[in-house]
Symmetry: D3
Subunit: 237 residues, 6 copies
């Protein structure tokens, strides 16, 4: 029995609220249950310096948590003077995941930054960030298309992410914090709308897992990501 | 004529939404028009080291802006590796303002941190932070009282803040960004429920101002803060 | 009775010693009693990057305290790796105050940096810095005029600053450290030679102040700044 | 055909040289072809502060690259003032991998730090670090056992790691830099001596991968790690 | 001919002004010609953590330059966020030099910090700092003796420093900036009142030097330091 | 009797292993007994910014120690966020020493960085670095000559370094850590192949030294450096 009473293959209540930031070129407030992440897309008219002259653009991500998004207040990273390894790892993952569905040559020499700021955390902030970040990115590219700044083929597919774990010996989908902190294995999957795998990160927190468990987790992830991508399609109309 | 068509003495639409953060001991989402600030209060059971053994507690504040809360994306301060002078100045002001109405001896050897994170900015983020931060602080102290952690007299009064300026030669209340960036003089006032002045910060951005203008700005501030404190009273029941 | 036996409206002994730095384009050693600040002006032939191409110049300030300028040795900020919020707040105030009397278009695409380094502190270092910084700036502009680098109308007025406070219930002028650390209210005023107010920063350290006290403090400040500007005129000949 | 002419399932020439650091409690110079990593184990008699009083110990890892271990000289991270996201991500992986086979309760309140410094890089530095880091850790624990500082059951199993990728459409084992920089998918596997999976990190650099490819990569990894663990057994006698 | 017209073995005009800092336990404004350094001594009642429980104390030094102490304004190190290698090297030299004449066991578990802040620079700031720092240290120890905080034998000898160089082929004493920037060899000597050598740092900036030149420089240094120590004796009475 | 049983004028076993880094333009693994330093030379096609347009090039050095190169593990400087004063001081010394034998005009607008990374430390890491760094530099310049990137006269002479000290009252050559930590005086000499002195750094750790001791140390250094330069000649063929 999961702490939340959910079935093993049930996502939390998910919502994707578009266009909520007054200033950004794209935005989405994504909620996976009590995990709330505000995603914004910011367009910069020039690419990072190492891409100048190549004709290619870039999509990158930054991630942060409000100090009291968590059960215990965390020290503000700007005050600590640096971003933690966890923060850097997560924002690298979000950036890689989003770039996997963007044609950077069609984007041209521009940069889009997806900021994912966790307003409230209850497990799965990185997977919510990828899923909501895609909506912010999509809005930004639509905004650009309406201004003839890019052609129609910049986005090649949808992308979304979900966590899966082995909790009390059973594979479960979309872990909340109560499960995550106790799970034997915790894995994050990023997949596209056409079912390709973009990223797998699986870690045995307790005892190692085996191939059968990996296969079961993959099946759950595929189902959950399928549902998330349906929601993305619905909200993008 | 103000860009927003408001009367010179009209506040923007203000809302104070209590109890919106799952984890924090107190919280408030404050909106002054399009300026939205999420305020949370976090209790720590011990005071800063320089107060240990004195019997006194402390209230402090931290302030941050989401990178795309503004018209142009700002660099994330955690990535820059330090907080700007503006950030430090604002969080010092918020802390001083809230401490002005708290009896630190009655609080006892504890610390309350008020985090004010700007989700969206349109001028007046520091005054919204003081006004909403008071609600978060009040909720936290109520939470503590219900657990017999403090006595009834910890909060001595309400406190709220508003900006006033000289815009195109006329004193106006509660400047939004369009006015703020053009005002000749910009002043922030912090006042208590009983009308005492806690803080004045007035700066001539263009030509210097005179005593008559200062008096006019003070009158506008007194009226605006009076209205804000009424709203605080209403939301705190 | 003030600890220093001064009358409520008496400045400390003030001295302004010009031209004391061998290398700088302008300099002044300013003393407000036992508060001693060395101010230098450094000319740079190009403006900050965000002003390039605008035809405008910039005046900025930096502030520091020698580690043992104070009663207890303070940690050296270069060793701490960052400037404190107080330092940043003060140098922003000095810069704003001096820019208020300079025509940045007439200055042209150049930058003048006023360094204010506190050799010894006894309260009022920021007001001494503004008052002495003006002399260093004026010397620098005279040096530039003598080389035909600027026209005659770059400086529009004098500017000086003084602190005022409510000490044991009475308004007093130019607080020293003994008063400052006990005052109920502490305010800094920056005013021009023609009597305009450039900046007010007033903070209730103990109980809030009222409009009558604000008015009384303003009157004291106006008198004190008047005297300081007379001294500036005398020393500049 | 692989650039190195290796068969798809062939490791590079691997060597594990034990006991090569005069001062460390354990050490290993590990070579995966031209990738050379010096691993040392350092014992500290007390655990990190958050474990004090729990009876448990800790194993952690730090990772660095010499500036000219790579084809282009990289900036020294100590001079840059911070460790990159990649560095932090790798050292977190090494630490998690080694902790997976250590009984932290049997270790007791101590900390072992595994430093993995890349003397020369040619792809696969993180997998070489895990594989060689295990030898340094094992030596350290043997050193401790010989001094009766820990009991016999601290290490529960072997652990080693290898990279696998999809290169020109085919799964290949143990990528060198020439392959890694061109591979469509790059995955790192960490497994124990008894065949359990400790960590999977798979990333599609080009097009997404599917379940069949994942299964093929897992099979290659299992074989490669099996061979590496045989070498570990041989060198540990 | 030296730019300053001095004889090869002539010091600049040197002055040592004692007791000039209101707050410090010891202080000296030292001038070697146009090089002016303010030295203060600050007593802390406990030693650095690595000396606790040993019965020994410590003397350390910190060094800084005001931004416009030099011909071109230098960036403020607190703003740059770190001290330069040159700064660290100089303050380590000053500390070592002063410790050479202090009995740290007789000092007991305390720490004295000598801050040497360069108000104006014209070559030889580190040698002036050692020479003036000794006076500040001596004053501090006298202050402590008068309070029975240390016994009489804490200081074992005088210590002073001077620079010597090979300028246009000839050994010269006490280089100013004009000579220093052109000298083929630049050497700093630190010696005690009884003639012992505490430190030699000699660097060939142009062509290497030979033993005869080293001997000649040593002779000049011995003479100059003898004169400086006479002045120290005079000022200390 | 020296702890190592060496005669007072005996170097440790020295080896200079050339060409050991796959990627670098020049490299040398230098061993002075148990002190092992990996030196690499990296060519950059443009000089530092302050030399652009002057026709001159630059040779610089960076120095680091692996965390467990020493008896006690040291904190990694990249994790501490800055290089220590000792590190900066040593790398400045290495750079100056190598520049002393390079004609920077003949080098042209390029920069060569010599990285000296201490794999294992047992005293004398800076002198080993200079001695081995010269080989790496020489290899790099040979590599450049073979590509017609520089003419034949870029290197003017050999350069090497050795430490000398007063240990238990007697001058001894090439101190290892056991001697170094107990020596009364510790001096480092850098000299050229033709016998010129490039740098002397002598420090009395205990009682001051006198001219006779300095002369004796210089004689030992001259002999030791002569032997080191013979070895350099042998290895460079």
């Amino acid at each position: 029995m999961r702490p939340s009473k959910r079935a093993p293959d049930a996502l939390r209540v998910v919502s994707l609220e578009r266009g909520i930031a007054k200033h950004a070129e794209g935005s989405c407030l994504v909620k996976f249950g009590d995990t709330h992440v505000l995603c914004t897309a910011s367009l910069e008219e020039k690419p990072p310096s190492w891409l100048r002259g190549t004709g290619k653009g870039w999509v990158t991500a930054e991630y942060g948590m409000l100090p009291r998004s968590t059960g215990e207040r965390m020290r503000r990273e700007s005050s600590a003077g640096k971003q933690s390894g966890r923060t850097l790892e997560i924002q690298r993952l979000i950036g890689r995941s989003l770039r996997a569905v963007v044609d950077l040559v069609h984007l041209g020499e521009k940069q889009i930054t997806i900021d994912c700021d966790v307003l409230q955390a209850d497990g799965g902030t990185r997977t919510a960030s990828v899923t909501g970040g895609f909506i912010a990115l999509h809005e930004c590219l639509t905004w650009m298309k309406s201004r003839d700044m890019v052609g129609p083929k910049v986005i090649r597919d949808h992308v979304a992410a979900v966590s899966v774990g082995i909790y009390r010996g059973k594979p479960v989908l979309d872990l909340d914090y109560a499960e995550d902190s106790e799970a034997e294995t915790d894995a994050n999957f990023v997949m596209t709308g056409s079912g390709g795998i973009v990223e797998i990160q699986g870690t045995a927190e307790g005892k190692p897992f085996d191939e059968a468990e990996l296969t079961a987790m993959l099946a759950l992830a595929r189902q959950g990501i399928g549902e998330l991508i349906e929601m993305q399609r619905a909200v993008l109309g």
